[in-house]
């Protein structure tokens, strides 16, 4: 069982300042919720580089190699088709499909990788219990901390001191 403490901030600066401060105090797992990406807050939260590009590269290699080998095996090994005496293993003719399978696999890896890293789909989350949190996708800049229930009051107090509005607590139902 865990508690979430949420608070809304006026601007990016206040949000980043609060994120840095709470991080120094070592309060649970912090997250920011913003309607647009705010790179500064990602830095303040100490989030590193996203592994999505690496996942994309894996998809590209698999898609490219897989696409080419598929054509080679099908047309040159398993069932050779003689078209006008051209070689069964016709490398130049295999390029367009290899390119397409590379792109397709890369795209699928990117999207599924992004979903997996973001924990999608997860249509319900405890933070949605807070009615005011609805502004997070419209114009609100929110900070959330996932903490032990005992520490929740302290974190809420700290958020208020840092200038947060609408400070709220949510308990996760076990």
């Amino acid at each position: 069982m865990a508690s979430w403490v949420l608070g809304e901030f006026q601007d990016d600066g206040a949000l980043c300042g609060a994120a840095r401060r709470l991080r120094e105090l070592g309060h649970g797992r912090l997250d920011a919720h913003t309607p647009v990406p705010v790179p500064a807050v990602e830095e303040a939260l100490g989030l590193g580089r996203s592994p999505v590009p690496l996942i994309a590269l894996c998809g590209a290699i698999l898609g490219g190699a897989g696409g080419y080998l598929m054509q080679w095996w099908m047309n040159a090994v398993d069932y050779s088709i003689n078209v006008g005496g051209r070689p069964d293993h016709a490398a130049p003719a295999f390029i367009p499909v290899t390119f397409e399978t590379t792109v397709l696999a890369t795209a699928i890896f990117i999207v599924l990788g992004f979903f997996a890293l973001a924990g999608f789909p997860r249509t319900h989350h405890p933070v949605f219990e807070v009615e005011a949190f609805r502004t997070a996708s419209v114009d609100g800049l929110w900070l959330s901390a996932e903490v032990e229930p005992a520490a929740a009051e302290g974190v809420a107090e700290e958020l208020r001191r840092l200038g947060a509005r609408n400070v709220s607590r949510v308990e996760e139902e076990a």
Binding site: S50, P53, A56, F120, P121
Partner: protein, 467 residues
């Protein structure tokens, strides 16, 4: 923000006299304005258009059912004109889709800000255009219920597709294009779906948008992956879009038919695709921004830039025509010369050829004039003519090249039947239906990206004021 500082923002760039975002609304105002078409009651104009589009879409399905029940002999195709309306319309629709990817992917990589407010619109157009395009080759196989034979799957027949055939390349290219466009569009849509969920007033809407939003909480952890995922998708869509129409052109260029067998085809097809796609974006965006009041986010700047892209790609298309004719003359091949200098210009389909020259070569020249680029009427009419022109281009390429076979005894005319026309008009209706549903249920302008643009402009204005 005060009027004075707003004025300062507008003066930032002397090369951009018309702003990409008119006024300086706040996030909430932007959100409300851009979501208004979704939350407001259905408009009369929308209903009227929907009432036109749906029966036409119905006509499509009736014509398809009739074709399936009777066989493709009900089309006007014959020998030697074995490719006709089906392939003309396939190429036309695929080409239209290309502008969507150009706007959403290529212009994103080039950091062209004016793409922000039209990218979702254009990307939706891509998806729906590709759906129309896919209908034609699927039916043209004659037995669409066996179309899965085109995919490499371990079948009891023990056969595999022939990967040396451009037609198989086309299957891979077009399907990849559709899937990647869909993923790209959806990933870009997630933050707005979450905002729709959070601004919904009814439980049904909240649940429906909530499911599609997948649980987006605008978390820094989400954005971190989202940003790079979106950028990478743009990165791979860019070569993809160039490959798709190149592969489509290989369907022609790899054959030995005069009129098709030309090395200029891939770049000329890609330029033509973007040309026709921008024409379609303008055709749709000019009325839509009026009806939904998007003039502050889709400004004169956007229309002006799109007109310039059309002028540039129109000139490339004209160059393609020139090269084709030059090669026909320079090759010294009498079949090529006969096709390009006799059949096309003076043959039975000459009016279509001259209409093509008028629409694709002459009409875009009006975009040299600023007054034409700034008049929505002039733009709209020119865009419609370009749509017509690009359709006639495919007609000229396909039908005139085929109807004069190598043996004069095999010459034949092609006339579309009522089924051909019904399927073509039907796809326009089906496209319209999908597009209208999109306008009704999804914000046509990306609110999250416009909000980001607004912040960027503000930061720049502040930096400018500090100097």
């Amino acid at each position: 923000m005060s009027a004075e500082s707003a004025a300062r923002v507008e003066r930032v760039d002397p090369l951009e006299p018309v702003p990409v975002l008119a006024g300086r609304p706040g996030d909430r105002e932007l959100n409300d304005a851009l979501f208004e078409p979704v939350w407001a009651k259905t408009r009369r104009g929308w209903l009227a258009l929907f009432a036109v589009a749906v029966p036409l879409a119905g006509l499509l399905f009736l014509a398809i059912a009739y074709t399936l029940a009777t066989g493709i002999g009900v089309w006007g195709n014959n020998v030697p004109v074995g490719w006709a309306f089906d392939i003309i319309n396939f190429v036309w629709w695929i080409g239209i889709g290309h502008a969507g990817t150009l706007i959403s992917a290529i212009l994103l990589l080039f950091q062209q800000r004016w793409r922000t407010s039209i990218n979702r619109f254009a990307e939706a157009m891509t998806l729906f255009a590709v759906i129309q395009a896919l209908i034609f080759p699927a039916l043209h196989t004659g037995r669409p219920w066996f179309d899965f034979w085109l995919f490499p799957y371990p079948s009891t027949l023990g056969l595999w597709p022939n990967f040396k055939s451009p037609l198989i390349w086309d299957v891979f290219a077009v399907n990849t294009y559709f899937l990647v466009s869909l993923l790209f569009w959806y990933v870009g849509l997630i933050p707005d779906l979450a905002a729709l969920r959070d601004t919904s007033r009814s439980r049904a809407a909240r649940v429906a948008y909530g499911i599609f939003a997948l649980g987006w909480r605008g978390s820094a952890r989400h954005w971190r992956h989202h940003r790079i995922a979106y950028l990478l998708l743009a990165g791979i869509s860019t070569p993809l879009v160039l490959s798709v129409h190149s592969v489509v052109s290989f369907d022609f260029a790899v054959s030995v038919l005069p009129g098709w067998h030309t090395t200029v085809f891939p770049p000329y097809f890609v330029a033509g695709a973007i040309f026709s796609g921008f024409a379609m974006v303008l055709t749709l965006v000019i009325p839509a921004r009026k009806v939904f009041g998007f003039e502050s986010v889709i400004t004169g700047k956007h229309l002006d830039n799109m007109a310039k892209v059309m002028l540039a790609t129109g000139l490339m298309v004209s160059y393609g025509y020139l090269v084709e004719h030059f090669n026909a003359w320079y090759s010294g091949d009498h079949l090529e010369s006969f096709l390009f200098f006799t059949t096309r210009q003076r043959g039975p389909y000459a009016p279509v050829y001259w209409l093509m020259i008028f629409c694709n070569v002459v009409v875009p020249q009006v975009f040299w004039f600023r007054r034409a680029r700034q008049s929505t009427w002039a733009l709209w009419v020119a865009a419609l003519l370009v749509n017509v022109g690009m359709w006639t281009e495919r007609f000229v390429i396909i039908v005139t090249s085929l109807h004069r076979d190598f043996l004069p005894s095999s010459w034949a005319m092609y006339y579309p039947t009522w089924v051909d026309w019904s399927i073509y008009l039907g796809t326009l209706g089906f496209f319209g239906t999908l597009f209208l549903l999109f306008l009704r249920f999804v914000p046509a302008v990306s609110a999250s990206e416009v909000k980001e643009l607004r912040r960027e402009l503000e930061h720049e204005a502040q930096a400018h004021a500090a100097h």
